[in-house]
Symmetry: C2
Subunit: 137 residues, 2 copies
DNA sequence: CTGAATCCCACCTGATACTG
DNA sequence: CAGTATCAGGTGGGATTCAG
């Protein structure tokens, strides 16, 4: 028995076109993904533009290639701005857009909710590394 | 410039151990992923137990293998219960747990937020299929 | 400094076939 | 009915090298 959910709580998506629904799902998945989330997080904490190298340093474990890909995607989704200063050596700065900042706030809210329930998830995992056959008798 | 964020808004994660942080990120990513989200959505709308075949029918485009995997993962995360009735032919029912229902509500909230901003995302994509070189002069 | 280009591999996905 | 087994294909991501 699910918690007391209103009818229609989960029907909103049916008011979207297939294309819109797909786009919304895609954005949801991207914003929750490992690297984009970490990168947005770093940019948010910086509270201002950050050079490529700085981001690379601060996002632990990311490779330069993946960081480039991630930033490009974030840029084309309007979550991050990329500003190129045509100098030599080149300088490029990335900054979270207002839209990106707002999205991050929302994602972090969900993250926090999950973090608060961590004991539940840890418990579930602990007791079911092999939780087959629930109804044995 | 990011929207007006408090200092510390994004620092909560630093109060977690690495393992906890990793688990929270993992759950976030899973709950937002394509198939788990769709499956939870179907189970929520069903408002009760659903047999494997029913889920398979209702989650459009999923293969039975992936559905099995998805359900197993959801089960081991405590989001779904699996009840086997040892009959012949076998009958297995899946149902969203309270925890799963709550998590789904949170994810859907984020999803809705994104859906409301779809025009922004569509606009961003439209103007930057090749949005290189922002600062040209 | 900021990438682009290559190579490469592990993993995941999905289709198909088989089974208790 | 509800899976498991197997295999092929695509994808993500790391390491390395080259370039403007």
């Amino acid at each position: 028995m699910v918690t007391d959910l209103d009818d229609g709580t989960f029907d909103f998506c049916e008011t979207l076109t297939d294309a819109q629904d797909a786009l919304a799902r895609e954005m949801l998945e991207r914003a929750s993904a490992k690297w984009p989330l970490r990168v947005m997080h770093i940019l948010a904490k910086a509270k201002g533009p950050l050079r490529f190298s700085r981001v690379l340093e601060r996002v632990e474990g990311i490779s330069q290639k993946v960081l480039t890909q991630t930033l490009r995607t974030l840029e084309s989704d309007g979550l991050v701005t990329r500003t190129l200063y045509p100098q030599v050596p080149p300088r490029v700065e990335y900054e979270l857009t207002p839209l990106g900042g707002e999205l991050l706030v929302e994602v972090v809210a969900l993250w926090q909710w999950i973090a608060n329930r961590l004991p539940d998830f840890e418990a579930a995992r602990a007791q079911s590394p092999r939780a087959t056959d629930a109804a044995k008798r």
